[in-house]
Each structure stands twice: as structure tokens, then as C-alpha cells.
Amino acid sequence: MKAYKFLRAGRHGPFSDFVWPENSWVVADGALDACRSGIHACRPEHLGYWLLPELWEIELDGDLVETEHKIVAQRGRLTHRIDEWDDAVRHDLGVECVHRTARYAVLELRELGFAREAELLEDAPTAGELAEIVVQVAERVSGDAADLAGYVGDAYEYAQIGHVSGAAFIAAHAAELHAPAGVDDPFAAERAEQGRWLAERLELTG
């Protein structure tokens, strides 16, 4: 089956010293165990959780276990690197996460009656201007609204240095804090949205 795998630079495993070969089967030691052993990969909807410098398409084979956020297989083979996952897309996703964080802040501000402050955020045309405005907004409000305004600035800081996984986490955390009505798991919902955004942008299927 086709799936996707994020790796650190140089095809390094995300959490180990293992360097993945290209186009060569890697077999997990021993019996498949989602906790301990297996080849990890993900579907497009999981991408938001695993954002690392390199994105590869991976072919999986043998026994498979699907969990909530990943697929674990007996064997896997990197087939090709998705070069479209580049600095430009990372930048755009980072900016998207800043705007997504701001949307949660706006919703919170409106809920708490800070209409003027919500408008200020909504009217900011760019992520950079958003980051400037939230400083003033955070000083004028309190509680979760102030925190969410602060998160917008923080997401921008991460996005500016190309640390897209940080910006993405902040957006998910903002979703968790705002807790939109009618959403069971706002953190997961936000992550799923990030995954969808990326899958669409990179034209990934599966």
C-alpha cells in the first residue's frame, strides 16, 4: 500500500539514528507491535502531526496495523521523495497556521464580547501585521482571549524561522484552548485540517 513518511534531513529516521535507504525494503525486527516495532508511515490526513524536513512516498507491505495517527507495517520501501515539500510550501503552511490560530483568537474574542479587538485581527491583511496587532490586543483583553492572541504572535515567530511544525502545533493547541462548539476533539480536527491543506497542496492521494 502507498503511504507517506516524513524524515529528518539525509533520510534520517525521525526518532532514531537509522538512515533509510532509497528504494530498498526495510523489514521490522520481530513481530509487528505498534508500540515497539514496525515501519511507521501515515496517510495524508495524518501529515499535520509529523511535519519534518523530508517527505517521502513509501510502499508498505506485510502485516499492517492502523492506529489513529499512523500506519505500522512489517516492511516498507521509500519509493520517491516528494520534492514539492519545499521551503515555499513550508512557508505557506506556516502562514496558513498563523491565520488559523488567529481565527480561533477571533472566535474567542467575539465570544467574550471583545468585538473591536476581534475586528482588528480580522482586518489584518498579512501574517506580519497580525503579529503586530495581537501584541496590543493581548494587552487589552484577559484570560484565554489574551493567551490566544499571544499564540498568534508565537505562531508567527515559528513560521518566520521556518519552523512549520511549531506553528502547526500552536494552531492545534489554539483550537484546543478555544474549543469550538460542536467539535469533539478540536486538536485532532485542526490537525486533520492541516493534513488536508497539505495533501491538497502537494496533490497527495491515498
Binding site: P14, C35, Y49, H69, G166, A168, D185, F187, A188
Partner: protein, 77 residues
């Protein structure tokens, strides 16, 4: 609160459990998704891994000749 919204303090507390494969699948996912975005925790975990490697490389004490003789004598008796 989502189990994936993990704080750095949890990462520190569970470092050995993680390195020793002692976490459940759910916990391991929480742990690893945190490591994706948190460089400080990656450094912390690397520190612990590196520490274990450094400890492994500690040299044993040299065998003291007097002590060696004493043990062999005692064994003879």
C-alpha cells in the same frame, strides 16, 4: 484535553519509559508527535541517550595487584 497536547515536563518524566519501549501505543504517539516540533525535548532525549552511551564507555578500575593476590590466596584457602 487532547492526549496529544503534551507538555515538555511530561517528555522529561517519560524519557526512560520511551527509550526502554515502556510506553503504550497511544503514549508513544503523544511522545513522538511532541518531538516533531519541540527541539528542546529532542535535545533532552539525545542528552539521555548520549549519557547512557558515555556511562557504557566508563572504564573499569585497574585490577589492584595486592587485591588480586588477596583474592587468590583466599580462594586457595
Amino acid at each position: 484535553m487532547s492526549h496529544l497536547d503534551v507538555r515538555c515536563s511530561s517528555i522529561a518524566l517519560l524519557a526512560t519509559e520511551y527509550l526502554e519501549d515502556g510506553l503504550s501505543e497511544r503514549q508513544r504517539t503523544s511522545y513522538e508527535t511532541h518531538l516533531v516540533y519541540c527541539d528542546a525535548c529532542v535535545v533532552f532525549l539525545d542528552d539521555i541517550r548520549e549519557l547512557a552511551a558515555r556511562l557504557r564507555a566508563l572504564p573499569p578500575d585497574p585490577v589492584d595487584a595486592v587485591e588480586r593476590r588477596a583474592v587468590l590466596e583466599a580462594a586457595r584457602r
